[in-house]
Symmetry: C2
Subunit: 407 residues, 2 copies
């Protein structure tokens, strides 16, 4: 088994990096605070005696090359260490640090691995500062052009490539240089299923599709006191109608579709001026590609209808679009077997969140392991998983790696 104390200690140490004066944790991709987190991770890789490689999109790889593996394809384990705004400490970090812990354990035990084992921390998984999310793994899998990714403009006006150079993580390797034989990602569920059912391990068999759009509505600024309701072209009101449309539609259906408007701003944003412009994001998800397409089409049709009815201009920019993914059946079964052998209840499940595994599945057999999130809370400082579950998940990962890397 892994060294539970070391794993938990590292999770807490990394979770303390990037807190502001009021204690809020924020390590946005390629920011100053994320640099400190990256430096800490690299120092642990050094401590574990792993070979460190950074690629041009800033993905950090810690490579263990046991004797005699030659140029065999590695087993890759990992996740990300960037966070959302005002985040919890587990999302991403748990998977990266558990992967490091598994490798360090196998290495210390003198495990006879048939291939290299790599821990990877992918750049910009969250997609909060730069869209799309899962960017580092997407570039690694060849699904997004490196130069286009490096040129991405952030929500704060920064350019990802410049920021990676600035923080010293624009590496030399070509993304994808070390093509994995298989990829496994351990992660907190970030949803309510496992906790509700009292099951400590999830064998993730698929992952829903993700559609991110930025909608801009253009109306007319005018005086809030003098402009009769009938003469208004109110971009803010039109935006509110989209938000309630999405909610009513998701609520009214029997499908698992979810729709979220997380960001919004009005212009000129003055109390007595009718908004001339509203911009907001739409995050639509569904495990079924046809249904996700239907939801996108329904939104587009509603926007057309709204533009005519409210006499506003509407434009839509696509920020991310990922199809649902089905994971590798063999690895999913290995996860179930490992859990069973450790006496842990396990269920197959769908991931509601996007993950780097979704991208790497394009180039290698992949799967994920979930552990429970208390109250289903994530992307929130209250995000929590018990130490027991964290350790159990890491041990299941250890066993699956042993199985896959066995000589």
């Amino acid at each position: 088994s892994i060294d539970a104390a070391r794993l938990l200690e590292r999770i807490r140490t990394l979770g303390a990096i990037g807190r502001d004066e009021s204690g809020r944790l924020t390590r946005l991709a390629a920011s100053d605070t994320e640099k400190v987190g990256r430096d800490q991770f690299v120092s642990w890789l050094d401590e574990a005696g792993l070979e460190v490689a950074v690629d041009r999109i800033g993905n950090i790889l810690g490579i263990w090359r046991p004797d005699g593996v030659g140029d065999r394809q590695p087993l890759m384990l990992g996740s990300h260490i960037d966070t959302v705004i005002d985040a919890g400490i587990y999302d991403g970090c748990y998977g990266v640090l558990a992967a490091l812990e598994v490798i360090q354990t196998l290495k210390a035990q003198g495990f006879a691995s048939s291939r290299p084992v790599v821990v990877v921390a992918f750049t910009n998984e969250e997609g909060v500062r730069y869209a799309p999310d899962m960017m580092g793994s997407l570039v690694y899998a060849g699904g997004l052009d490196l130069d286009a990714a490096l040129a991405t403009l952030g929500t704060d006006g920064s350019v990802l490539g410049d920021e990676l150079r600035r923080i010293g993580y624009a590496g030399a390797q070509e993304p994808g240089f070390f093509k994995p034989h298989a990829y496994i990602e351990l992660h907190i569920e970030q949803g309510p299923v496992l906790e509700r059912e009292g099951i400590p391990v999830g064998a993730v068999q698929n992952l829903q599709g993700i559609s991110w759009q930025m909608v801009t509505i253009e109306g007319d600024a005018n005086h809030a006191g003098t402009t009769p309701i009938s003469m208004r072209r109110d971009a803010g009101h039109a935006a509110a109608r989209v938000i309630t449309f999405l909610r009513d539609r998701a609520k009214g259906s029997n499908t698992p579709t979810v729709a979220t408007v997380g960001c919004i701003d009005f212009e000129p944003n003055a109390i007595n001026v009718i908004p001339s412009r509203a911009r907001f994001t739409v995050d639509l998800r569904d495990p079924d590609e046809d249904r996700l397409k239907e939801e996108e089409a329904a939104l587009a049709a509603f926007l057309d209808h709204l533009a005519a009815e409210e006499q506003v201009g509407i434009s839509v920019e696509r920020l991310a679009r990922f199809e649902p993914v089905t994971f590798d059946r063999r690895i999913v079964e290995l996860v179930e077997k490992a859990a069973r052998e450790r006496g842990l209840a396990c269920r197959r499940m769908t991931s509601g969140a996007g993950h780097d595994a979704q991208m790497i599945a394009r180039i290698a057999p992949s799967a994920m392991i979930f552990v429970p999130s208390i109250g289903g809370i994530s992307h929130n400082p209250k995000e929590h998983t018990t130490d027991e579950d964290l350790v159990a998940g890491a041990n299941v990962l250890l066993d699956v790696v042993r199985e896959l890397a066995r000589k």
Copy 2:
């Protein structure tokens, strides 16, 4: 008659102050750009040979004391020179500069005034940076404590009193030091009525009540992909429901009630995080006080219902509350008479916007004169009034002042 060229030239000169690189005009109360506008106005007061006084809330008075007026109460004319964000050039400035023009004309003509005549530019009429609006005139009329006003926190975190000191307009006089005998304010209509009816002069007989509130909704941040719709406490969605409620209610009634949500922000404002907090402003207006109270009560009841239904916390802060005002009948009749004598069509009307006259009406007989706004557009760079209408309005003001100040 007034010097039309000088008036129009000054309107254009002041309208050029406070433009950013992209040409947008913004002179928020007590800001750096407004300081430049104030300095320009004061230099015109000097040029006209008026006595300049600045009071502790930053109101600027240009005083003409004809011989023999002794300590009689002045006739006061004015408006404001602060603007909204991305403003037009007429709102406020027209009334101030026309008042100056009227005084300069009377002075040059050697008009035998029975009392001092004062042009005033009130501080922070727009209320965009500091709430409430009409703050300078409200303090002048004794309706708001000076120290409370100076301590007002701005939308940008600044404090009004500090900003007035910084820009050199924290004057020495006590607000209200020069109590007006009567107050007249000339202003663009900012609404569609006069233009639609082809009438150049409005004799404003009343002004609607204004209720400004800041609503804060507290939900739970959570993951946009993993959180089932039924488990969400989405502050952003609840805010959208308030916006559509207000619109549907205003639209469904036969009353002139208007409701506007001009400002909004979400926290954490991230694409894949359900908003934990939404804050937005509500601007409610009605010419009838009972109906305005009904609208406020309907909103409060809806918020209670929403808090229960969406399981969110809701708190409301009052930013401004002004009752409807009825102007002085005698001055309204003088406006009609002056228009008639100049061969200008005139109609009585209600002001949809709030104005300094609404505050000064508490301490002196007051009224307003409106000129048409093309397309009813205001609080927008497209705000426009023809030169002919601007000059006609200023001449009507001249005649009304002559009538009121006659020996």
